[in-house]
Amino acid sequence: MAVVARDGDVGAAAGASRPAAVTRLFASMAGLDALSKIWWTCLSISLFAGIWELCWGLGWADPKLLPPPHIFLDNIAEQAKFFNTATRWTIGTAMNSGPTPFESVMITMGATTARVFAGLVIASVLAISIGVMVRYYQFFDKLVLPTITLLSPVSPIAWLPVAIFLFGIGNAPAIFMVVVALFFHMVLATINQIDGVNPNLINVARTMGATKWQIYTRVIVPAILPGMLAVLRLNLFGAWMVVLIAESTGVGYGMGQVIMLARNTFNPSLVFFTIAVIGVLGFTFDWLLRLAQRRILYWLPDTKEKLRGL
């Protein structure tokens, strides 16, 4: 392939030739690949929305309970007003003062995203450090692992009162909820990843006289990176789920608050509109993480292509 490309460059300099055309074709195919991905994404969503619309059209979905996309996306400006939870809590502030509806949507999205991000970062750093330490120090393993295993099946809901007792209301309890929901699983996942490292790689380092510290930093950590990023991606979705629960109780503004408001005012359109916004945010987050994954894990072969040929 490299040879073809080099020939192509020479050919292009000398004027149009067949190899140059081949190179251009490959280049355009790379562009097509991204385009086709977008196309398939749109198609996938349209299919889902289409079925929903069809159900509405046939009268199966009551628009008051399950408003289809064309209804809940119809009056975005109207929906956006409900996001203005920031000023409502201040006594003496008029409903229409403060940020514009568009700004409110942005503030709400930003606040929730920041909580997810902060929780995810804190949980990952803590969990990976603890997980590595559990395998590094045997006494730490014996001392800490039973408690972690004991606490990991506890639902985040059960932590909610604890979060409020400890942190009251505001950002802290929401971030705490995200951390506590992810931390225990991520510790166990880290340990699992360490145990799965190819023993030959560790043995190679040992025969070369590597110390325990060097084996951990130079072999085990890079070897578990791919798995840890996969764990992070899965937990990202978990973080988005938990943050709504946390926000629905005692935070000034956030997506969870909006959902709560929609529930209390019986406003299905607002529920679905918020769900759509969360979906788009989560999707974007995941996409960014996948990009980062490809950058960081340059050495991983693309198995997906092979599976496609089956």
């Binding site: 190819n198 030959n200 790689l201 043995n203 190679v204 380092a205 040992r206 025969t207 070369m208 006289g209 590597a210 110390t211 060097q214 130079r218 072999v219 890079p222 070897a223 990176l225 340059y298 050495w299 991983l300 072969p301």
Partner: protein, 273 residues
């Protein structure tokens, strides 16, 4: 045997095993004996092949000599030092690719130097030299997944050579390669062995490979592995694998192995399901 602690060998020997045995999971219900009563002397610069049926413990012996595993019986010395931990003097090459996928070829080859804290320029120079010895100078900046199976094993050999080992331990290193590549790799290994001056301990279950490479073939019994016989081969290299002498050796070795393979099968069939 060596319980008085005094070494019963000449200190020149590259590897000395006295009464070496290994029982996996010793003291538990799953305990099984892999090796028993191994007495073996390997001279500096000698090429020794361990031949035996699968599961006879020949790889286990290699791990014991490398220091990655501890013997449950007996003692092992290498150049008069007792083997207790792994050492860069005894490099081990594995059957499966054991290159670090996140490092380039030269970073892989100089991994041992990086651990000692050598400067980058020195590491690259050493890697370049080692790669030249295995004929892979052009691949210096490539990543392992861009190489074929044979090339990867040559990089693994270069990585071992970069440590200037006195003993090269090879655990079926060419088992995953196709027949033609394997034959080329054997020639290549003999060249490398000749100019490194190291002793090579090479594990295989292929009689042809043993005949092509060895100064001495150590034939193992079925589990628990003991040394059945040590078979010297004095033919000059490169050996014509189709000559009458080689054919006679092949038949002899086949006979020696057949009994053991039969025994191994009988034992496996005797295990209650």
């Amino acid at each position: 045997m060596a319980s008085d602690g005094a070494p019963h060998f000449s200190s020149k020997a590259a590897v000395v095993c006295r009464g070496v045995g290994k029982t996996w999971a010793a003291g538990t219900k799953r305990a099984h004996e892999a090796l028993r009563d191994i007495d073996l002397d390997i001279q500096p610069g000698e090429f020794v092949v361990f031949l035996g049926p699968s599961g006879c413990g020949k790889s286990t012996l290699l791990y014991l000599i490398s220091g990655l595993e501890d013997a449950t019986e007996g003692q092992i010395w290498s150049f008069s030092d007792k083997v207790e931990t792994p050492s860069p003097d005894r490099s081990l090459i594995f059957q499966e690719t054991s290159l670090f996928p996140w490092l380039t070829v030269w970073q892989n080859v100089s991994f041992g130097l990086a651990i000692r804290g050598a400067a980058q320029a020195e590491r690259r120079a050493v890697a370049a030299e080692a790669l030249q010895r295995v004929g892979l100078s052009a691949a210096i900046d490539k990543r392992p997944d861009e190489l074929s199976g044979g090339m990867r094993q040559r990089v693994a050999v270069a990585r071992a050579l970069a440590m200037r080992p006195k003993v090269l331990l090879m655990d079926e290193p060419f088992a995953a390669l196709d027949v033609q590549t394997r034959a080329r790799m054997q020639d290549f290994l003999l060249d490398v062995w000749r100019d490194s001056g190291a002793s090579v301990l090479f594990v295989t279950h292929h009689i042809d490979e043993a005949v092509a490479l060895a100064d001495r073939v150590v034939v193992f019994t079925a589990r628990p592995g003991r040394i059945k016989t040590i078979f010297p081969i004095t033919l000059p290299r490169p050996r014509n694998l189709f000559s009458r002498e080689v054919e006679a050796m092949r038949i002899q070795l086949t006979e020696l192995l057949r009994d053991e393979v039969d025994r191994a099968f009988a034992e496996q069939e005797a295990i209650p399901a």
